[in-house]
């Protein structure tokens, strides 16, 4: 029995099970690998760890559903940055009604966060707003364009600010996903300005974009041109007349439109995407039959006619 003494009391640290004193820069490297809640808790471990998270670069400020807005406020007030990533979903079910002031107020906080995050060099930003259709979508402020360090941007259920033309807006953006995002100022022109203002863009997902109804602008359509775009996905109810321009780096394209424009020029689309490695084109059966009929007309009947003229 003496060989295996019972250990009721916490054992004094033995050399084999103890991590010695570490300099602050090493502690910060450790903290940078922690989620934000854990990073903040390390402050209470000992004096050596005290408030170190506040100056640890590249923390991921990612909040689960139900996080109080004041928590994100408090962290942003204390944390010096740079911010590796920030994500927050402002959903109705996130908080009991009485604790959730009003959408207007909550959404304005999101605008404040964007301004603060721009100053802290945020590199990845995800903001999701209420999906409740009774609410008017929140329009983001142009301070979004001050986030020049952004490499990833994901927005859900909001309106995009007016995109200033003729300048690089997001010089580092490589990944952009916009889900149910409205472009109420200049419609398709804003999308084009966003793409041309993000020269490094490699991935673009547009799901159910919203444009103000404008007959003329639909007819002109929106030409997507991006030197580095590799993956493009467009999912929407309506055909907004998307056209493919110069896409020298394109690898995969998925287009899923429920209601194609009757005048949709599929030949232009296919020709522009001739170099793509993987193309997924989803459409209703009726549209497909229409397309097949058009193909037969162009390539069988017309070619037959031309061969008649040769001989």
């Amino acid at each position: 029995m003496e060989a295996s003494p019972p250990c009721r009391r916490p054992q004094p640290p033995s050399p084999a099970s103890s991590l010695g004193p570490l300099p602050p820069e090493i502690l910060q490297t450790i903290i940078s690998h922690l989620p934000i809640r854990d990073a903040v808790r390390t402050s209470a471990v000992s004096r050596a760890w005290r408030r170190l998270w506040e100056t640890t670069p590249d923390l991921a400020l990612e909040w689960g559903c139900g996080t109080d807005l004041a928590v994100a406020d408090a962290v942003l007030a204390r944390y010096s940055g740079p911010v590796r990533s920030f994500n927050f979903f402002l959903h109705q079910e996130a908080r009991p009604f009485e604790l959730f002031p009003s959408y207007e107020e909550a959404f304005e906080r999101a605008d404040d966060w964007i301004t603060i995050l721009a100053g802290k060099g945020v590199r990845s930003l995800t903001l999701g707003f209420s999906e409740d259709s009774d609410d008017l979508p929140h329009t983001l402020q142009t301070t979004l364009f001050s986030c020049r360090e952004l490499t990833r941007l994901r927005l859900c259920n909001c309106d995009f600010p007016l995109v200033p033309e003729e300048s690089v807006r997001f010089p580092n953006l490589t990944w952009c996903s916009l889900d149910s995002v409205g472009f109420k100022y200049a419609g398709e022109k804003d999308v084009v300005a966003l793409i041309s203002g993000s020269p490094l863009l490699e991935v673009l997902w547009l799901k159910d974009p919203y444009f103000p109804y404008d007959e003329n602008s639909f007819k002109k359509g929106c030409v997507i041109e991006a030197p580095n775009l590799r993956h493009l996905k467009i999912v929407s109810e309506d055909d907004f007349g998307w056209k493919m321009g110069d896409l020298p780096s394109i690898e995969t394209v998925e287009i899923n439109i429920k209601d194609y424009d009757i005048n949709r020029d599929f030949v232009q689309l296919m020709t522009a995407l001739a170099e793509v490695k993987k193309l997924i084109l989803k459409m209703p059966v009726s549209c497909f039959l229409f397309l097949v009929a058009g193909f037969i007309y162009h390539h069988v009947i017309q070619e037959t006619n031309s061969s008649h003229t040769v001989f």
């Binding site: 004094p12 450790i30 808790r41």
Partner: protein
């Protein structure tokens, strides 16, 4: 960023350098592997560490140095490929398996390794060991972290500071 292999006619055999631990053990290792250390890289590029000379490392004992070099030798080929864009998924999985196994060690060894990685500025190893410690403390309360890291029980003042922090940052403890 240049490849560490020198073009001084040493074709065939890779250039070797000698590292000397704090307890005077000599380790002969390929220059490419030792160059994973930012601290050593300049000396090696200047042609140091070869022949009868060695590079003394007064802060690293032989047990730790041998462990550090095990890491460097394993990671040198991928590092030479500039982050290994051509590496296959199998190669990457193998490195990951090696890394996981590599940090499965006693805390005292881990501690020496953290300090050595820091002093020698071996970026990948610094990140690997920091991540290991982060995984050890993730999801734990400050008290549990203290126990995990083998700290002595807190003094009454430290305990009071812990409690104050829990009050101020209640959301971080939910």
């Amino acid at each position: 960023m240049a490849a560490p292999e020198s073009g001084d006619g040493n074709n065939g055999a890779a250039r070797m350098v000698t590292l000397i631990s704090s307890d005077n053990t000599r380790f002969e290792v390929e220059a490419a592997a030792a160059s994973l250390s930012q601290t050593l890289q300049l000396t090696i590029l200047d042609g140091g560490g070869g022949g009868g000379d060695g590079i003394p490392l007064p802060n690293v004992d032989s047990a730790t140095l041998s462990k550090v070099l095990e890491y460097c030798i394993k990671h040198a080929p991928a590092a030479a490929n500039g982050g290994a864009p051509n590496a296959t998924a199998v190669d990457r999985a193998e490195l990951e398996r090696f890394d996981n196994e590599f940090v499965n060690i006693d805390q005292s060894v881990l501690y020496s390794l953290i300090m050595a990685a820091h002093n020698l500025e071996i970026e990948g190893l610094q990140s690997l060991v920091a991540k290991k410690v982060a995984d050890m403390i993730k999801g734990k309360s400050p008290m549990e972290i203290r126990r995990t890291l083998g700290f002595p029980d807190p003094t009454p003042e430290e305990q009071a500071e812990m409690n104050a922090h829990m009050l101020e940052y209640g959301w971080a403890y939910e």
